[in-house]
Symmetry: C2
Subunit: 367 residues, 2 copies
C-alpha cells in the first residue's frame, strides 16, 4: 500500500525526486506540507487550499484529541471526511506539543501525564494511547510518540530521550492497528552526532516505511540544523521517504532538499499571513508597512495564485491594516502556494539536472 | 444609464418584480445586498461572495474615507477594481455612522464635524464633501448625506432633521459630478407618518432615479418599522426603485417586499456568522451549542452553498468552538447565500403569482 520510488537524483548533492504512494493518492517528493492544526489550515477553505496543490496536509494529534476529540472525528468517518480534504494526510504524535508544555506535565517510562489546557482534565499520553488516537483520526501517515528534549539540553538528557524514543517506537509499532496508515519513527539526538547515529541505528530495526528527523527547528542555530541534516539524512534508508519535522523557511527547505530529505512541514506560511507578512521571492514582506498603501501592483507578478492574480499590494495593505480576516486568508493562500511551489520547483530542478546550480544561487537567500 | 422596469406585481400586496440597470450590470429586484464595510464583505473573498449571487454589494463611505482613504481607492481605479468586485455596487453617505458618533460630533447647517476614531484628526462631512468622496469611490448607486436622528426623538427634532435632510439632498444633487452614478435621496421622519409624508414630498422634487427609506432599524419596535414601510413605500414613485436601509431579518425583508420595497442591505448575515450563528429556514442556530458536536448532517440539506455541500454541523461546531476563522467564513458564505436566496425566492413567488400565499405562510417565521 505504501511504496516509495526514486525517479531521479542530483549528482552533486543528496537531493532526489520520488513518489510515495498512499491510500489517498501519490505524493510527489520533495514536498512542503501545510499544517492544519485543528483540522483546518488556518483561514483557508479546503477548496482554497487545493489551489496551492499541497501533496500532503498535516493535522495535530494533540490538538485534535483536546478538541473536538478523536472519538468525534472517528464517528465523522475520519479526518479526511471531517475536514473535507481528500488527498494524503499526516498526523504528528503530539510528542512535540506535550514536551513543550514544560512544568505542567510529568514524564515516566510509560508515558506523559498532563493537564488539558482546555478544561484542566488530567490526560495521559502513552505510545499506545497516541497510536489509538492516530488510528481513529485515520491519516495516511502517522508518527511514533517520541520524547523531544528541550534545546539546549546536556548530552546525558538527550541520550536518555533517544533511548526512550526507541523503546516507545517499538511500542507504537506493536500498538499500531491499521495497515492503511504508514507509521514513521522519529530520529532524535539534538545537535549530538553520536546520538543521532545511535537513534537511527535503533530505529532502523523497525523496518518502517519512512523515517522522520525530529528535534530540529527547536531554537538551535541554523548552521547546527543544517549539520544535523547533513549527518542524519545519509544514515537513513535510501529507498524510504525522509521527513524533516517543523521545517519551513526557504533556507531550511533548500538545505533539507540538498541533503536528500523528502518531506517538510511548517506553520510558517499561515502564521506569517496572520501577522500580515508575505513570502515573496525568498523574502518576507510586511504588508502593514505604509510603503504598500499606494502600490497598485500584484503582490508577486510571477505568482499564479488567486491573491496575486486578483488583488494589489495596496488592497492587501488595506486589509492587513484594518485587520480584516480576508487579508489573512489572501496572504495564507499566497504563502502556502509559495512554499509548496518553492519545493516543487526544487523538485523540477533535480529532474532537469540543474538542482546544484539552483542550490548555489538560492543559498544566497536571506531567510 | 439607469433604467428601472417593473416586470410583475402581486395583486394582493405592494410586492413587485423589477430590473434596475446600472453601469456594472442589471439588478434583479427585490434583492438583498450584503455589506462590505471596508471594501470586503467580512471573511469572504470576492469569488466566495460571487457564489452567493448578490445583485449589489455595499461599501461604507465613512469607513473607507477613514481607511484606506478615498484618494487611494480613486487611484486604484475605484472601488470595483480595488476590492475585485465587478458587479453593481452601492455606497452609503456616512450619515448614519456620523450621527451615531454621539457626543464627539457637532452639527451645523453646513455639515458635521467629528474626530476620526482612528487618529483623532478633525474631519468635516458636508453634502459636498460626501459627494466628492462617493464620486471618487465610484459605486453605481450613491446616497445623499442625510441627518439621521436618534430613536426615540421628539417630533420637533425629527421634523428639523427632515428639513435639513431635504436641503442637504438638494446640495448633494448639485455637487454630484458623475452621470454613471445614480444618486438616491433618503426619506427620514422616524415613526411620524406626517413627517415621512413631508420628507417624501420634498425629495420627490429632485426627480431622483431611486429613493431610500432611512431611519429604520434604529431600535424602534418591529411593528413601527412595518408601519413606516406601509405608509412610506406607496408615497414613493412607482417606477423608481425603493431601498430600505439596514434591513435584514427574514421578517423585515418579507414585510418590506410585501410593501413594494425593492432593495435591502444589512450586516446581519456576516455579523451573525462571526458569532457562530447560522440562518436556516427562518431561524437562528448557534453552532457553538454542544448539541451540534456529533451532528454529521449538512447545515441545511436543502442549501446549495459550498458550506452546506461540503461540511457537517459537527465540523462547523468544532470550528466555531475553537474560534477558527474558517468557521466564520463558512457561516458567512451560508448566511449571505441564505438571505440573497430568501429575497430571490420571494421575487420568484411574485413572478409566479403566489407571493401572497408565501407571505402568509412565512409571516409565521419568528425572526
Amino acid at each position: 500500500m505504501f511504496d516509495f520510488s526514486i525517479e531521479g537524483q542530483c549528482d552533486q548533492s543528496g537531493a532526489r525526486v520520488g513518489y510515495f504512494t498512499t491510500p489517498h493518492g501519490t505524493v510527489a517528493t520533495p514536498c512542503f506540507m501545510p499544517v492544519g492544526t485543528l483540522a483546518t489550515v488556518k483561514t483557508l477553505s479546503p477548496s482554497q487550499l487545493a489551489e496551492a496543490h499541497p501533496q500532503v496536509v498535516l493535522a495535530n494529534t494533540y490538538h485534535l484529541h483536546l478538541q473536538p476529540g478523536d472519538d468525534i472525528i472517528e464517528a465523522a468517518g475520519g479526518l479526511h471526511k471531517f475536514m473535507g480534504w481528500s488527498g494524503p494526510m499526516l498526523t504528528d504524535s503530539g510528542g512535540f506539543q506535550v514536551f513543550s508544555l514544560g512544568g505542567i506535565r510529568t514524564i515516566d517510562e510509560e508515558g506523559v501525564t498532563f493537564k488539558s489546557p482546555r478544561d484542566g482534565a488530567k490526560i495521559r499520553f502513552t505510545p499506545e494511547v497516541v497510536m489509538g488516537i492516530q488510528n481513529r483520526l485515520g491519516a495516511d501517515i502517522v508518527m511514533c510518540f517520541d520524547e523531544c528534549p528541550p534545546y539546549p539540553a546536556p548530552h546525558e538528557a538527550v541520550s536518555a530521550a533517544v533511548e526512550r524514543t526507541s523503546r516507545w517506537a517499538e511500542r507504537c509499532l506493536r500498538a499500531h492497528q491499521r495497515s492503511d496508515q504508514a507509521l514513521f519513527p522519529i530520529v532524535q539526538g539534538g545537535g549530538y552526532e553520536d546520538l543521532r547515529t545511535h537513534s537511527v541505528q535503533a530505529l532502523l530495526e523497525l523496518d518502517a516505511p519512512g523515517y522522520a528527523i525530529g528535534g530540529v527547528s527547536v531554537g538551535e542555530p541554523t548552521h547546527q540544523m543544517h549539520r544535523v541534516f547533513r549527518h542524519t539524512a545519509p544514515l537513513l534508508p535510501k529507498h524510504k521517504p525522509r521527513y524533516a519535522m517543523g521545517i519551513g523557511t526557504y533556507r531550511e527547505l533548500l538545505e533539507g532538499v540538498a541533503q536528500g530529505i523528502d518531506m517538510f512541514d511548517c506553520v510558517i506560511p499561515t502564521r506569517l499571513a496572520r501577522h500580515g507578512t508575505a513570502l515573496v521571492g525568498g523574502e518576507r514582506w510586511n504588508l502593514k508597512n505604509s510603503y504598500y498603501r499606494r502600490d497598485f501592483t500584484p503582490l508577486d507578478p510571477k505568482c499564479s495564485c488567486y491573491t496575486c492574480q486578483q488583488f494589489t499590494r495596496a488592497y492587501l495593505c488595506h486589509l492587513v491594516r484594518t485587520k480584516e480576516s480576508l487579508g489573512m486568508t489572501l496572504l495564507a493562500l499566497h504563502n502556502v502556494t509559495e512554499l509548496v511551489r518553492f519545493v516543487a520547483q526544487l523538485r523540477g530542478a533535480i529532474q532537469e539536472g540543474h538542482f546544484w546550480d539552483s542550490y548555489q544561487r538560492l543559498s544566497r537567500l536571506a531567510s
